[in-house]
Amino acid sequence: MTEVSIERLTKTFGGARAVDGISIRIADGEFISLLGPSGCGKTTTLKMIAGFEEASEGAIRFDGKDVVNVPAEKRDIGMVFQNYALFPHMTVVQNLAFGLEMRKIAKPEMLSRIAEVLDMVQLGGYSDRYPNQLSGGQQQRVALARALVIEPKILLLDEPLANLDAKLREEMRVFIRDLQRRVGITTVYVTHDQAEAMTMSDRVVVMFGGRIAQIGAPSDIYERPENLEVAQFVGQVNLVKGTILGGTITGAAGPGKSRVASVFGEVAVDSRTDHAPGAAVTLSLRPEAIELKTASQGGAQGKVTARYYSGSIIDYRIALDSGETLHVQTFPNIRIAEGDRVSVHAPADGFWLLGAAK
């Protein structure tokens, strides 16, 4: 299998830097997602790994060997496209056979490999169908099978689930992830959907404006976002203004924390960055970390301005008496109605001290 190393990779389009000197090391068998809004350079990065786009600067190494000057057809990659890109004039078997023919695999081996992979994507009985005789989900799986049957070094997926409906998308997330684990192939997955990136990946690379904002495990990205941009992109977040207090923290809280005064009182907050006492900072507070209680039970006081019921959770909008607005998510077992006055409690470990955006 293959380790991929991207070093100071840059792509300029007429002076504009679409990808600006990014470096990522992808371990053998790792599932890594490039996550970011459209235009952040994630797809361009993927195309450079695939060889469809020439790198302006930097290196891409497969197992230590620089492939920047290797044409796409010689890189030995499997790629799944957003629109599947199945060959419409070929049956499922012919689609899968294409890559094997290019590798001059003998017919008997070709057929057994195709049968094996079709089985793996649960399309055993569909060999002789044409792509337009298949549903979106089936086409997706054929595309996946076509990329895997050549046993490539690396699997690249470009927003493969974007054209599926919500239910199928969730099924396919699990399906692709399980398949990837079973095959153990190094995988790079491009998406703008943070839930997709988090559920599937070993590590997520968050990109903005051609640069990497943060690389980390999904929990790292979600719970300890590098800055405001990342925090806002990977889920909903409340921003709470605060001021750094001086003095060291003792006891269980330990080092690596800062004391911050905010509307929720004085809290010891986790942080990756150092701030001088007196500095104005922004704390992130995830909606699901907040606890609501009926009025006058301590904490910050406020009023429910809106309530959205969605089955497994309820979303609340709370207007605090101090003027801030909070977004709160709770399980539906508490009955608080619109217009009710509430006490808002936020545990110290629900806060995270954001670094300044780069």
Binding site: A50, G51, F52, P71, A72, E73, K74, D76, I77, G78, M79, F81, Q82, N83, A85, L86, F87, P88, H89, M90, F98, G99, M102, R103, Y130, N132, Q133, R146, A147, I150, L156
Partner: protein, 288 residues
């Protein structure tokens, strides 16, 4: 019941105007030509009383006319092949090139059709003649001693026909290429196909319908072209269309001219059928 009836008549009403036009101005005249081709030649009149197969026996007995049909088909074939070779790269650029290039190229491609056919053909005589621009320039530069024979031969006709029929080749092919998703080529290349293999195995089969349409259009138009061959071919090289018009208008032999016209149509149609057979797509995509 009403619903099904409405469904049945709707399309009929929509195609009615075209059907009437074709019926009155194509099918009926054609039938008239078929009947005319079996009439007796007349003396001082377009045709005489009674019927005969003599016009056809005359045609098949005289190798001059068979040769002329072969000549006409050959010119049509060469014109079609050249249009395909010259037109395909242009169609590709129009379909896949950048926008600014496209607007300009589109205008250039259509430009031959914006000039009247007679004017355009005279234009070619100015360029191609023994005393024309091309020959004078070449002799002036000392590259040739004698003028190249560019006019009054098949070469001149082919040059002029390729020029005017190029748009009919380019436009259908361009439309077909536009219908082929560029990511299919990327997919083929990711699977290990070179650019050329990706083109041959994926793009080419998918734009075959456009190539077929373009080839048939150009071929049929070349066979039936009259003004260009008559002005550039002159008296030396005659295509069937020119001979047919001679027979009908100059010598006033309607039955003979009709028979000639029908032989041209039949051989042309035969060529188209054979071509369509040979290039038939081996895949049929069922629509469900």
């Amino acid at each position: 019941m009403t619903a099904t009836r409405r469904k049945g008549f709707g399309p009929l009403i929509l195609i009615a105007p075209a059907a009437v036009l074709l019926g009155v101005f194509l099918v009926l005249p054609y039938l008239n030509i078929v009947v005319m081709s079996f009439r007796m030649p007349g003396q001082g009149t377009p045709y005489g009383p009674g019927f005969t197969t003599g016009n056809y026996t005359k045609f098949f007995a005289d190798s001059f006319y068979l040769l002329q049909v072969a000549n006409t088909l050959w010119i049509g074939l060469i014109t079609t092949a050249l249009c395909l070779v010259v037109g395909f790269p242009v169609a590709w650029q129009l379909a896949r090139g950048n926008m600014r290039f496209r607007a300009l190229a589109y205008g250039l491609v259509l430009s031959p059709l914006l000039v009247g056919i007679v004017i355009r053909s005279y234009g070619w005589t100015i360029l191609l003649g023994n005393n024309g621009l091309i020959n004078r320039t070449l002799t002036g530069m000392g590259l040739i001693d004698r003028p190249l024979p560019l006019m009054y031969n098949a070469l001149g006709i082919v040059i002029a026909l390729v020029h005017v029929f190029l748009p009919f080749m380019i436009l259908p092919i361009m439309a077909a290429i536009q219908g082929v998703d560029p990511s299919l080529e990327s997919a083929a290349r990711s699977l290990g196909a070179s650019r050329f293999t990706a083109f041959r195995r994926i793009v080419l089969p998918l734009c075959t319908p456009g190539i077929q349409a373009g080839c048939i259009l150009v071929f049929v138009l070349s066979l039936s072209a009259y003004v260009t061959p008559s002005l550039i071919g002159g008296l030396r090289v005659k295509t069937m269309a020119v001979t047919v018009v001679d027979a009908l208008i100059d010598t006033f032999q309607w039955p003979w001219g009709s028979a000639l016209a029908l032989m041209l149509s039949v051989t042309g149609a035969l060529c188209v059928v054979i071509f369509a057979r040979l290039t038939r797509m081996k895949w049929k995509v069922a629509r469900t």
